[in-house]
Symmetry: C2
Subunit: 310 residues, 2 copies
């Protein structure tokens, strides 16, 4: 089975098990399903599974649960980020966002319930492996909560001053680090050699998102473009210029490729990273933006002078 | 040290430890502090500590963490419930609600971060006691998540049909059951003998809240009265009439008192329950509402005929 199919099947099976006895409020369950099963790329669980395989994958069910739990956290964050208090987005992955389809109260609750479900999914499989479970729970909590998880990342948008590097590491990088580390932890291995892969890939995703937002690749994104400028968010594309952001993106991908520790699956993992890089920011587009004076005058300049770059 | 002081000190200490290295976004941390340290009665952690003491309290640090984690979940639910998507409340415990003081984006994130922090607090102390930790995490997840936790309880308000009993058990009862069970689990004991205490006390709190909402005890509540009618919520006071609701409340308190298992602290626990009962719905007020024809004609009748009572 390929990684995407394994990730998708695990997620469906973990989700159904966690829903429980069938007595949950049906519209809440429908809103959660809408949030989770809507054609996501499943990058985070695929990363978890890749690293688990590279580490021996001696408990595949635990790796499946770990990847699924992180994807549930990711989906929860998208539901809340799309709400009127943040992006006020009508469309996500080409479909109505959860609050558009089910209303704001259920969107708020669906996000909350998905956060708790992520822990339930870990517990449901992990209780038989207490030491690994505790590591996985600490790892997931660090990826989501304070001080440097994705919730903190989102919150940097509400601060009068923010460090661009810290913001990006938290907003996207933290859950990617959690994803690679979870693969190692599920297989009973040391997570530390896998931090750089998650961190550089996570930052690359964030930078790619910034680039695509400026390039207006709205249809590809399945969501409205120009959101960063609209919400005056810290953005690598605005900070470095589009050409600079593309260079930075490609450097991060190279760092990710180089960071893969020696293991039987090293080639496969490196290929996966390069493949994702091409999917995110096609190299043809990169080349065009590297030409002298290719930076369009109309490209939005980042407005918040108080955001520092490190 | 009395229970309230122990609960309050534990919460402060667990909160600070979970905030971490000091690099978290300061306004998010301030919003979380505002949500948590605002004069709450700390009923849930006091219940946890009471039961832990009744069960020997051989790991007081773990009982402290378990009670604090549940209080963080309670605070998270209040932050999200107060938001415009639900109650649109300006005041909570006599102070501005989190979204009024910090804006909707930070209120949304503060709630999310508090949910994760609850798990972090359990992990920070519980990792040294894996078997108890896993039980505590399952217990807390059941109290908050699907199928019957407080998030599900809140979601029943968004359903076209709801069972009043299931709604009340989930909306308030679930976290009270989690609170009594957590005390036993933290002390390494069987949680089952403590379910009825939590369930009946939780339902009593919900019924008391309904009664107080109708009686218009706004100043005492520290929040606006009349919210149930305003939001056409299922309510025992509307369903049973005020006199019936008062009788039902007192029956629940008696069930709670009778349910306390034999232990050295039985008298103390029963007294605590009776004391809370008096604080919630003063018996003088109960007596007045039991007089024939005391039910005011102006008392709101519950509008949603589709809500069934069990």
């Amino acid at each position: 089975m390929n990684l995407l199919a394994r990730a998708e099947q695990s997620l469906a099976s973990c989700f159904e098990a966690a829903i429980g006895s069938g007595s949950a409020p049906p519209r809440l369950v429908a809103a959660m399903r809408h949030a989770v099963f809507s054609g996501g790329a499943r990058i985070r669980p695929q990363l978890t599974l890749s690293v688990a395989i590279a580490c021996g994958d001696d408990q595949p069910g635990l790796a499946n649960a770990a990847g699924s739990a992180l994807e549930l956290m990711h989906c929860a964050s998208l539901v809340h980020d799309d709400m009127p208090a943040f992006d006020d987005a009508d469309i996500r992955r080409g479909r109505p966002t959860v609050h558009k389809a089910f209303g704001e109260p259920l969107a708020l609750l669906a996000g909350d319930a998905l956060i708790v479900m992520a822990y339930q999914v870990l517990l449901n499989t992990g209780h038989a492996f207490p030491a690994r479970l505790i590591g996985l729970m600490q790892n997931m909590s660090a990826g989501v909560g304070l001080p440097n998880g994705i919730v903190a990342g989102q919150a940097w948008e509400c601060e009068p001053r923010a460090d661009l590097g810290q913001y990006q590491r938290a907003k996207t990088g933290a859950l990617f680090v959690a994803a690679t580390c979870a693969g190692a932890l599920a297989a009973g291995r040391d997570a530390r050699p896998w931090v750089t892969l998650g961190a550089s890939l996570g930052e690359a995703y964030q930078v790619a998102d910034d680039i695509r937002d400026v390039m207006g690749l709205s249809a590809d994104l399945g969501k409205p473009a120009g959101q960063d400028q609209l919400h005056t968010r810290p953005s690598a594309a605005s900070e470095l210029g589009l050409g600079g952001a593309v260079d930075y993106f490609q450097g991060l991908i190279q760092t990710a490729v180089d960071s893969v520790p020696a293991c039987t699956c090293r080639d496969m993992l490196q290929q996966l990273v390069r493949h994702e890089s091409e999917r995110l920011v096609p190299s043809a587009a990169c080349a065009a933006y590297r030409l002298p004076n290719a930076m369009p005058n109309t490209a939005p300049k980042f407005q918040a002078a108080t955001v520092l770059q490190t």
